[in-house]
């Protein structure tokens, strides 16, 4: 694989998996204090989600009606909600729901977008035209509104939210993968492999798709902030994870009824969403800067 590096459209962008893991932006990231902070926050978030049972001081669903709506204190860092549940514990457990949504959507959308894009880019012609038309159609849908309608139709729940968000978030990935595939398709090493009578399937899976993965991953990171916000909106409207699950958007929605007198009930989960989404945005933005100074649109 070494020989191909130099052939790949000069300095346009790094496209190799191994370059993705080893090279420029990890070091560049260190020179970007903001992006670095974002990475730290995300790492912490994942850590919190993983060790929720250890970190959360209380059972997130345990109701203690006597101690409802307590303000933040040393025993309840983020106060308690209307059922006397510890908000901090709920936030910690809620991180799991948020991250599960974000990663599930990415895990669904990434491969779908990659396959569609790579196939379109590799085969070109009619296949390309059909797939890209489909992509453009879905791209032009109002995604949040469609997700709302979809979630309303098949009944609320975390999985519904995941599917609803996935439905409309694959097109940007497909477009990107196609652009990448177009470049890789004509590279020398693919032509070489072709001369050895490699099958289309083999070429696609072993030679072209892997080349597109790094930029797809970056694009997915950029999407994660949007997914976080969409999931929160769905939760806010009662279409996400169902009570008593500590979904952040749903927590805001519930806390809204008490917001004037007990600000923390709605403010705390809002801050959690803001922080998470901001971290994703900062990291995505930084990655984009490092990888492609000219920026993708959309």
């Amino acid at each position: 694989m070494d020989m191909t590096k130099a052939d790949l459209t000069g300095a346009r962008r790094p496209s190799l998996l191994h370059r993705f893991l080893t090279l420029p932006f990890w070091s560049a990231l260190r020179r970007e204090p903001l992006g670095f902070a974002g990475v730290i926050v995300l790492a912490l978030l994942v850590l919190v989600a993983l060790s929720a049972p250890l970190l959360a001081p209380y059972d997130p669903n345990r109701q203690v009606l006597d101690s409802s709506l307590l303000s933040p204190s040393s025993s309840h860092w983020a106060g308690t909600d209307e059922f006397g549940r510890d908000i901090f514990s709920r936030l910690v457990w809620g991180a799991r729901l948020t991250l599960r949504t974000v990663f599930s959507v990415s895990a669904i959308v990434g491969p779908i977008g990659l396959i569609i894009g790579v196939v379109a880019g590799y085969f070109g012609g009619r296949v390309d035209a059909v797939l890209m038309r489909l992509t453009d159609i879905v791209l032009s849908f109002p995604s949040l509104v469609l997700a709302l309608a979809f979630a309303a139709a098949i009944g609320p729940g975390l999985n519904t939210a995941i599917v609803a968000i996935s439905l409309t978030s694959w097109p940007p990935i497909a477009r990107l993968a196609r652009a990448e595939a177009l470049v890789v398709r004509n590279s020398d090493y693919v032509s070489a492999a072709r001369m050895y009578d490699a099958s289309n399937l083999r070429l696609l899976t072993l030679y072209i798709a892997p080349m597109c993965i790094p930029s797809v991953v970056v694009r997915l990171t950029l999407n994660m902030a949007t997914i976080t916000l969409t999931a929160a909106s769905l939760g806010f409207l009662g279409l996400g994870a169902q009570p008593p699950a500590p979904e952040w958007g749903a927590m805001i929605s519930a806390g809204r009824k008490y917001m004037i007198d007990y600000w923390w009930v709605a403010v705390m989960p809002g801050l959690a969403i803001l922080l998470t989404s901001l971290a994703f945005n900062v990291v995505g933005d930084t990655l984009r800067d490092i990888l492609d100074p000219r920026h993708e649109r959309g």
């Binding site: 903001l34 309303a152 916000l229 409207l237 958007g249 917001m259 969403i273 901001l278 933005d285 920026h295």
Partner: protein
């Protein structure tokens, strides 16, 4: 670029785009229909109430057309849609098209003011960030706009109401005007700012302004990030061009260069960015409207969601979808017409 060629090109692209638009609309309608039919229950119960008599129940069911077989419902749905008839909303008992006709101007008014605000603030910030690239100013602007891009707007709206309405009493509360002003201005466009001006009622105009400014600013803030970011990067791109260097060499000031050369050049690209943001705002208004009791499509749709009124949900989706697609379409056309380089960039 010879004029005739460009025109021809634009015309050709227009055909293609139109086909694309029509296809997209058809796909949207098909998908929304499928979504509509997936709903496990019917909305009859929520209309006739918990203790209704079976006869009343059946009557409402019939009125909503839910007593017919699904295939027939499907055909009827399509047929009616072609005639602009979106069915009867369980939520209001009105025809959905009437409802949307009344709700859409409110959303449009809100989103329009929001986009104006976000351009007025976002573009200068973007230019500033580009000029001061990598300075603390640039970083600050970046953080400000990223926060705007990351904050849940409905949450920000709640806090905004708390601070600016309840606390500082600086702006009007939920709703489009103070309640007792309702019904005093004849609805012409459905947009209160315009209607009150038409009626020459400055008191109501001012009152409406105090009400719209908060939700519009919140939405504007969330849309600003993208506009600022794109303005910055377009500007940076232009600043690195030879003609800028040349102009600077001729002694034109940075400001002069910016006004005379850079701005006109990035204007075309910005149109697209603004159009996309505008579409996004129409969508973003959906959740924000609930917080501000804003009687637009968003509130309509979410109220309908809560009672499972799928006719209304589907129709609202279609209307927002169409507005969204039309905006994209128009911006594409504008882009094609104004900038022949688009094709290469794609």
């Amino acid at each position: 670029m010879a004029q005739p060629i460009m025109k021809q090109l634009a015309a050709m692209r227009l055909d293609k785009r139109l086909v694309q638009l029509v296809l997209s609309l058809l796909a949207l309608v098909a998908i929304t229909f499928v979504i509509g039919r997936m709903l496990p229950t019917d909305p009859v119960g929520s209309i006739v109430g918990e203790l209704a008599d079976p006869r009343a129940y059946a009557a409402m069911r019939e009125r909503l057309g839910l007593d017919k077989p699904v295939a027939e419902q499907f055909l009827l749905y399509f047929w009616h849609l072609l005639q602009g008839d979106l069915g009867v909303a369980a939520l209001t008992g009105n025809s959905v098209s009437d409802d949307l006709w009344h709700a859409f101007p409110a959303t449009l008014e809100l989103a329009t003011l929001a986009i104006v605000l976000s351009v007025i603030v976002g573009v200068p910030l973007g230019l500033l960030a580009a000029l001061k690239r990598d300075s603390w100013v640039d970083q600050l602007i970046r953080v400000i706009s990223l926060v705007g891009h990351s904050v849940p707007v409905f949450w920000l709206g709640m806090i905004g109401l708390l601070v600016f309405y309840a606390g500082l009493q600086l702006v009007g509360g939920p709703g489009r005007i103070d309640v007792f002003y309702e019904g005093l201005v004849p609805p012409v466009t459905g947009m209160i700012l315009i209607d009150s001006l038409l009626a020459g009622d400055m008191e109501i105009f001012q009152n409406a302004l105090t009400h719209i400014i908060l939700p519009a600013s919140m939405l504007a803030y969330s849309a600003m990030a993208y506009i600022t970011r794109m303005t910055r990067s377009f500007t940076l791109e232009q600043l690195s061009q030879d003609y800028v260097t040349a102009a600077r060499a001729k002694g034109v000031s940075p400001a002069g260069t910016l006004y005379r050369h850079v701005l006109p050049n990035i204007a075309v690209q910005l149109i697209t960015v603004i159009a996309i943001s505008y579409g996004g705002l129409l969508e973003g208004a959906v959740v924000t409207e609930i917080v501000f009791s804003w009687p637009g499509i968003g509130q309509y749709m979410t109220s309908a969601l809560l009672i499972g009124d799928i006719n209304a949900v589907v129709a609202a989706t279609i209307v927002i979808g169409i507005a969204f697609m039309l905006l994209n379409f128009l911006s594409d056309i504008a882009y094609q017409l104004l900038d022949p380089r688009t094709r290469e960039a794609n």
